[in-house]
Symmetry: C2
Subunit: 428 residues, 2 copies
């Protein structure tokens, strides 16, 4: 499959032994109005005319999903959590509307086309309403429609559970539909069209010299995605497992985007650090001097999980005299609740728990860092030179994250971008 | 089944040998806002609390269907007729939204409920997109959900074709979904809730003394429905075939509605004439002196059908010398096109074809007229006394229709209402 990967251009050569199969995805902002739908339809037809077999997944138009959620809250009344099964039926209609409208627009341009719901397209899921996981893509109908010469439009974000009920895959999961279909069809590649034109070495609003990456590996992209880049992390994972090359590009300009793929031969010569990710609105809680014995961490974090509070970074350092310090971060908005819950923790009797908001998280990401010492110290030195104080540190195989003062995160990102020479193109 | 028929009240006694099964339908104006959905949900729950097993079909909210049609036209561009298959997928979403919202509202009131799409509810149809006919109602899932104690909300107006594609049953066909499900489940009755509170002896806006009927037979209702009463004629037909008693009543008041049924024992003592129907905007075309031989009528009406023009009343009278006169009516808006097409008919060479708009149709309907002479003459006499000129006459087994001047139709309807004593209650 890698033989047909074409990192830059918008059209590729047909795969050896058959027609090229391309799966595309257009997000909600790309189909927000009738005019935009017609423009996207033109783009799809041009690609079809150039020789590709096309499957296209679409999201709901603009704010449709938010509007439907507001309606659901309104009929449910205050204090009632809307039933997840009914919410799935309700929300799945937004993508059906987009898919049918896109098919109508394509047909008016003279091309054969059919729209399919997620269930019709063979997307099978588990029964977890609101956040279903895809269990299988039955490609029979998709293959039949493609063989009949039709462009196939698939409503994203939805599937069919074993119970024969409609499920949705979670917010932003139309990407996932596209990648899953690409994997099922063994497509030559999956193209995610959105309102950004690719993946950058850092957020260009923070770091003006940020540079668009021509390519990035799945693992690095996964770290960046979970750190705030506009991609669904689950779709990157799925792409990695099935080796689906994923292009991220802008809907309405023709600049080359970023190709996410796993071709190691291309990666060897790449820089160790691929990009810098920033998350703001971080709240920090410190629990100093707690007993250093089994079960204490569970005592602290179980009540937070039960309350639905998402804990992000957790750092525990051994301290003297059989005591340990635990620090962790939560979203700013959850800080007060998290503090109150943590103070009631039975292992924390007599401990002076403190917390504060106004922090940010800055990370460097790159597979090249694995087994290469020195990146952490280089990062800390760069931050020190920029007079950025480091509050917490946590690392993974391919990522180093520092918690810093929110007011300093922009300076931190720029300093790191400079230190790791990300403004210069890769040597490949 | 007739033992459980309950013409007046809103709740009935459980059927002998089991729970009472009631199928209800709420139209688009009954679910147009979140507030109305909550009010209808309350009504459904109260009925459920009174002991009935409930299946409820709903239409799309307010103007949703019109809005979706406008969007489809907009993406298709001028001059393109939107593809019927894609239109069906698109339009079916309106009812899915209503069904899910209704289920959410009912759940917030503490009742077990599930919403089903037409396909999930087992509505199977032929492949005629835009106007599919129901071929079967597979009640397995419906019965399973009822047995589990759930209220079942079904998206009206839609089904699944043999091709596994979504079909719609035609505008206003949510009634049809309800009656078909009632037939499939052998429900005790089907209740159509709408913005009118029943079937009247005449349109109350035309005839102030018009009276609401407590009951009416299927055949009479079918004539009235096809003459403009706000009911889907196909649902009456289906009700007649499967003997489903159908109650038509207002959503938001508790007045008894009109029960449409076929219980002959109740009908024997009824008046011969049940009601008066009026249709306006009628255009008339006269084709005098055409050859009285086989094929001439086909020569005239085939081109009109091919042009999609709906011909309503057709009257042919034998004339002297092997010639015949044919007159027929079309909608006012179709008159000019119909005239042009008729003038090109090959059998009409040299015939002075004329036409005019500004007519109306007034009919008396009643099964009691069958085999009872004198109703036609009584009708004509009443019109004559009211100085209403009759332009065309056509009759069926249970209906007599006159084409009159549009300006006189109100006087005609009042005169007939008076002549047939419809303002007085039935003797039952």
């Amino acid at each position: 499959m890698t033989a047909t990967v074409d990192a830059g251009g918008a059209t590729g050569a047909p795969a050896a032994g058959g027609r090229q199969v391309v799966v595309q995805k257009y997000g909600g902002s790309s189909v927000a109005t009738a005019e935009k739908i017609r423009a996207v339809a033109k783009k799809i037809c041009d690609r079809r005319a150039a020789g590709a077999d096309m499957v296209v997944t679409v999201s709901a138009m603009g704010d449709t999903t938010d509007d439907l959620i507001a309606l659901a809250r309104s009929v449910s009344g205050a204090g009632h959590v809307p039933d997840p099964r009914e919410m799935d039926t309700l929300l799945s209609t937004g993508e059906l509307v987009s898919a049918a409208l896109m098919a109508l627009a394509i047909r008016s341009l003279g091309y054969e086309v059919v729209s399919l719901s997620g269930p019709q397209a063979g997307i099978r899921t588990d029964n977890t309403h609101g956040a279903a996981r895809i269990s299988e893509v039955d490609t029979k109908r998709l293959s039949r429609e493609l063989a009949a010469g039709r462009i196939v439009i698939v409503a994203g974000f939805q599937g069919l559970a074993e119970t024969e009920d409609i499920t949705t895959l979670g917010r932003g999961a139309s990407d996932l539909t596209a990648v899953a279909i690409a994997a099922g069809l063994k497509a030559d590649r999956c193209e995610i069209y959105t309102d950004v034109d690719g993946i950058y070495t850092a957020d260009p609003r923070l770091v003006p010299e940020a540079r668009k990456l021509a390519e990035i590996g799945y693992e690095e992209m996964l770290e960046l995605a979970s750190l705030g880049a506009k991609m669904n992390p689950r779709s990157i994972e799925l792409g990695a497992v099935y080796s689906v090359p994923i292009l991220v590009a802008s809907t309405f300009d023709d600049k080359p985007g970023t190709l996410i793929h796993g071709d190691a031969s291309m990666m060897e010569v790449r820089k160790a650090v691929t990009g810098i990710a920033v998350t703001r609105n971080v709240g920090k809680i410190m629990v100093p001097g707690i007993p250093d014995r089994p079960g204490v961490a569970a005592d602290i974090f179980e009540p937070l999980a039960a309350a639905g509070i998402n804990v992000d970074v957790i750092v525990q350092s051994a301290s003297a005299g059989g005591k340990a310090d635990i620090s962790f971060t939560v979203a700013d908005g959850d800080l007060d609740r998290a503090l109150a819950i943590t103070r009631q923790c039975k292992s924390c009797g007599g401990v002076a728990i403190s917390g504060g908001r106004g922090y940010a998280k800055v990370s460097i990401v790159g597979t090249g860092m694995t087994n290469s010492p020195g990146y952490a110290s280089r990062m800390f030195r760069a931050l020190a030179l920029a007079r950025v104080n480091i509050d917490m540190i946590t690392t993974s195989e391919i990522r180093i994250t520092c918690i810093v003062d929110a007011g300093q995160v922009e300076a931190a990102a720029r300093a790191l971008h400079q230190a790791f020479e990300l403004h210069e193109a890769s040597p490949d």
